[in-house]
């Protein structure tokens, strides 16, 4: 909960991780390259006061996570979105058992989403059924640039992907968080292209597809499909910290999302531990579209409340305290023939 100027905001951090990138868990050089890349994101986009030492960045543990999110970060509820990265880390990047233990201890504060890899075919599908029961899954996180054996990525409209999505639908797993990365198979295609999300969203209208970092670096392609597919949502992972380094670009991102989607389909996240929520929440509540950017309407308090928590709360049936909710607009922003 965050209160300012007489308004109270219910905060859902829709994308957090409990990762372990310490050297003893790195399987190879790529494990180091991956966390170094994250650390450069962190150093490049954070205010100086929020930059962590490299050693702290490698691993946080549950106590630190609880403090950063809930004691210091105003967060009411957070959702784990783990990336497995088994080709880079011995015990995976996202720590399943640790995150699940923490979720079991604080079920009112945490939701655990798991991940799957369609290239594991039937074996993975059987596991998904067991995982759905064990974790009570409402959602999953899919990193399509994950390396697996000789393959360095997959698409959401591959045949085995569809089998997994069908199974998810049967199991009541409704929220599919899609995270695009730099590799895909075949490698000659643009790995960040979101056409596969478009196909899947059309064919699985009962599922919600939350595209993380709102399709960046292909914001425009993401907006174009989201305009046409009402079950496609924007996750603000990685986009949020631009509020500090490049507020005008951040205004453009938010302005574009509000124009092509609407205020009910945008979800805040800190992408913890890439960044911490405290400063992001404070800055976002204070944020306004610069006056000279007349192509965008000013942000309203209701829009900020929805983005900071109410939209994700609705998607995940997270109870919102009396008086803090705002009604959805129930209309699409743009109509494309």
């Amino acid at each position: 909960m965050y209160s300012k100027d007489g308004e109270t905001y219910f905060i859902v951090d829709a994308h957090v991780a409990l990762w372990d990138a310490r050297p003893e868990n790195q399987r190879n050089i790529h494990g180091k390259q991956f966390i170094d890349c994250f650390y450069d994101y962190h150093r490049n986009l954070s205010p100086e006061s929020e930059v962590w030492p490299y050693e702290e960045y490698l691993y946080q543990g549950g106590d630190r996570l609880m403090k950063d999110l809930f004691d210091d970060g105003y967060v009411d509820h957070a959702i784990f979105q783990p990336a497995h990265l088994g080709a880079f880390y011995n015990n995976g990047f996202g720590q399943t058992e640790e995150a699940w233990a923490l979720t079991s201890k604080h079920p009112d504060k945490l939701t655990y989403n798991h991940c799957w890899d369609p290239r594991r075919e039937q074996k993975g599908l059987d596991e998904l059924k067991r995982d759905a029961e064990r974790f009570g899954l409402k959602g999953v996180k899919l990193y399509t640039a994950e390396w697996y054996g000789d393959s360095r990525g997959y698409r959401l409209d591959d045949p085995w992907s569809y089998k997994y999505l069908e199974t998810a639908q049967e199991l009541g797993i409704r929220n599919i968080h899609v995270h695009k990365g730099p590799t895909i198979r075949p490698l000659d295609r643009d790995a960040f292209e979101v056409a596969d999300v478009d196909h899947a969203a059309t064919d699985f209208p009962e599922l919600n597809f939350v595209v993380e970092h709102c399709g960046l670096p292909r914001l425009e392609d993401f907006c174009w499909i989201a305009t046409q597919e009402p079950n496609v949502h924007a996750g603000l992972a990685v986009a949020m910290p631009f509020i500090h380094t490049r507020p005008r670009y951040f205004a453009q991102i938010i302005g574009e999302l509000l124009y092509w989607l609407n205020e009910d389909r945008i979800q805040f996240s800190s992408d913890y531990a890439l960044w911490t929520p405290r400063w992001l929440v404070e800055r976002f509540v204070d944020f306004q579209i610069p006056e000279d950017m007349t192509e965008y309407a000013p942000l309203t308090v209701a829009q900020k409340k929805k983005i900071l928590g109410l939209n994700a709360a609705k998607m995940y049936d997270i109870p919102v305290p009396e008086g803090l909710d705002v009604a959805p607009v129930e209309q699409e922003a743009v109509s494309v023939a």
């Binding site: 050089i29 790529h30 390259q33 991956f34 170094d36 890349c37 450069d40 994101y41 150093r43 490049n44 986009l45 000789d150 393959s151 360095r152 990365g181 730099p182 590799t183 198979r185 075949p186 490698l187 000659d188 295609r189 643009d190 790995a191 960040f192 960046l216 670096p217 292909r218 914001l219 425009e220 907006c223 174009w224 631009f242 380094t245 490049r246 670009y249 453009q252 991102i253 574009e256 124009y259 092509w260 743009v334 494309v336």
Partner: protein, 218 residues
């Protein structure tokens, strides 16, 4: 000076995603001429930049430098796929030859996709101040002599579109005039494309500075 000649040649090599030369982006790390061997090292903002774009820039660089020395070596530094890409570039193996089963074809289609994005963004920038009622009949000769107009002409040439003075300005991805009824939506989308390209370029510059501890440049 070999360095000047190299940078001039590499001014023509674009980062396809960011629609900017690799020279102004700071991707050229070092230039060395030793006997007949010209060695140029390239660097990118992250170890995980997409291998297809990385390959394209390295291979375009080698092509651009071929006339400058009897033997040209282009080396991509600090990339997760440096070994594979550098071997492929040294052998002039092509993308499919370099990546084997992981690739289904060469990268011309990928390049084309991004040339089209760059064109759409440049088109929207060039007509941003033109009132809607004048847009429908707008031809290249009607555009003011600005950098935006010049940029649009260059991107049209790259795609093989008509650059004659009386050619219509507002065309689609294959060079056909845009249907008048679709103009507002198409231009609005083209604006989003431009925002995306500019935003990515800025982020990549920042990451390169962070990664290599470079000083802030203009």
């Amino acid at each position: 000076m070999i360095e000047t000649a190299v940078f001039e040649a590499l001014d023509e090599v674009m980062d396809p995603e960011l629609d900017e030369p690799i020279t102004t982006l700071g991707f050229v790390r070092s230039v060395e001429l030793d006997g007949g061997v010209l060695t140029v090292h390239l660097r990118l903002p992250t170890a995980f930049c997409s291998p297809n774009f990385a390959y394209l820039m390295a291979s375009d660089s080698k092509d651009a430098l071929r006339d400058l020395a009897p033997h040209v070596v282009v080396v991509l530094d600090d990339h997760h796929d440096s070994d594979v890409i550098n071997r492929g570039i040294a052998a002039d193996a092509g993308f499919v030859g370099t990546y084997g089963e992981e690739a289904s074809r060469e990268l011309e289609e990928l390049r084309l996709t991004f040339q089209r994005k760059a064109h759409a963004a440049a088109m929207e920038r060039a007509v941003r101040e033109v009132p809607l009622e004048r847009l429908r009949s707008l031809t290249l000769q009607d555009l003011p002599a600005t950098r935006a107009s010049e940029a649009l002409r260059r991107r049209r040439s790259a795609l093989g579109f008509d650059t004659a003075p009386d050619a219509p300005v507002l065309v689609d991805d294959i060079g056909a005039p845009l249907p008048p009824g679709e103009l507002p939506l198409r231009l609005r989308f083209a604006r989003s494309v431009g925002i995306s390209i500019e935003g990515n370029a800025h982020f990549c510059r920042g990451l390169l500075r962070t990664r290599y501890a470079l000083e802030e440049t203009a």
